[in-house]
Symmetry: C2
Subunit: 201 residues, 2 copies
DNA sequence: ATGAAGACTCAGTTTTTCTAAACCTCGACG
DNA sequence: CGTCGAGGTTTAGAAAAACTGAGTCTTCAT
């Protein structure tokens, strides 16, 4: 069976964008800019000659075709991921997808974590979110945010904020699944955060 | 669920190469050179850090890992193909994958069909094979070969060879599924063959 | 009004992929 | 043995694809 497929990167962009209903968030997940996702999706729509998204002023919606397309595509990528993990478990362990709440974002150094070279080996992508469930569903490996949970059975590491502003909580939380709390990746991220939050950072 | 995957083109190259157990044939199917497939597969093996092929002097074999990997990857690509065909049936209809037996190859013009510009819109790839079953399984859309079948229920269009050599059959056969016998693609290919086989070609 | 957010576009750059040609190894064959 | 053919591999350079960054637009909320 020879496969006749559109460009696979376009499919990937579509899948992420459709899942998030946002080019920007999809871009974060994929580690590229929103423009790149926009281009990829447009090209895909052109090669299929089928519109996949309805671009409304309020945001994105899927077209009927997109709606029908998404589940199969997601499933196929999940299958590829599973199969790959089965024969090469390490591909998993390599890089974290980090969630950062918009509030937490404000107290972190500019463009963190990109500027910190120690993290390049450990970080795949950073998306802006405050949704703890994304940790449970593995959409992100850790979440950096303010405020209390309830975190349930998740691991939480609190970091004091030295230069806390008046109306700001005094602690930043690093949330992840318990099993990930002290892997290399978490340690590297925490160390980097520590540096970034200290007065000299 | 964010997907952590190796480069998708590498996966594609692996899938085709593993199915054919030949980089050269895979390259034909994908419409690239054998070197490109070799590179893609090597890079995939590097990112997974798992060897997928055993390169023996006699040819390729899959490693255990490759053996386990292949079925899932093939299935995933088939799913992508099916889903794509479901929402964009036309992507299907566009280009033929042609099979040419090595004997037939000899009587065709050099580099046919690449040289014939009328065909670029209709031909995706050309692989060397004499296996009629590939027509049945849709691995190729048509097969150009010598000799009699049994072709069963397949459509056969015979073309007389004007300059038949002594030990050669006098007719070249164009074999395809009945439904494809007089679509635009078949017609274009037959016309090009006709020209290519005539004394002036 | 003003600002923020997100999508789009476009030119230019970076990265990836591909080709073409050389090389190497092995097996077949005279 | 030599020589040939068939693949696989490697390389530099070319071609194509993907990405960025900056600017624009629209809409919504203040």
């Amino acid at each position: 069976m020879t496969h006749r497929l559109p460009h696979l990167n376009g499919l990937r962009a579509f899948e992420a964008a459709a899942r998030h209903l946002s080019f920007k968030t999809a871009a974060s997940e994929l580690g590229v800019t929103a423009g790149a996702v926009s281009q990829q999706v447009r090209k895909l729509e052109e090669t299929l000659d089928v519109p996949l998204f309805r671009r409304l002023p309020q945001g994105l919606l899927l077209t009927d075709a997109g709606e029908r397309y998404l589940p199969s595509i997601t499933r196929a990528f999940e299958d590829l991921t599973r199969a790959t993990e089965a024969i090469a478990p390490d591909i998993n362990a390599k890089k974290f997808n980090i969630g950062v709440s918009s509030e937490a974002r404000l107290v972190l150094p500019q463009e963190w974590p990109k500027r910190d070279k120690r993290l390049t080996a450990y970080v795949r992508s950073v998306i802006e979110t405050n949704d703890i469930d994304l940790v449970r569903t593995d959409e992100v490996d850790c979440l950096i945010r303010f405020g209390d949970g309830p975190y349930g059975d998740l691991a939480v590491i609190a970091m004091p904020l030295v230069k806390a502003a008046a109306a700001q909580p005094a602690e930043l939380h690093f949330v992840c699944k318990p099993g990930l709390a002290d892997c290399r990746q978490s340690k590297a991220i925490l160390e980097s955060l520590d540096d970034g939050l200290s007065p000299s950072g």
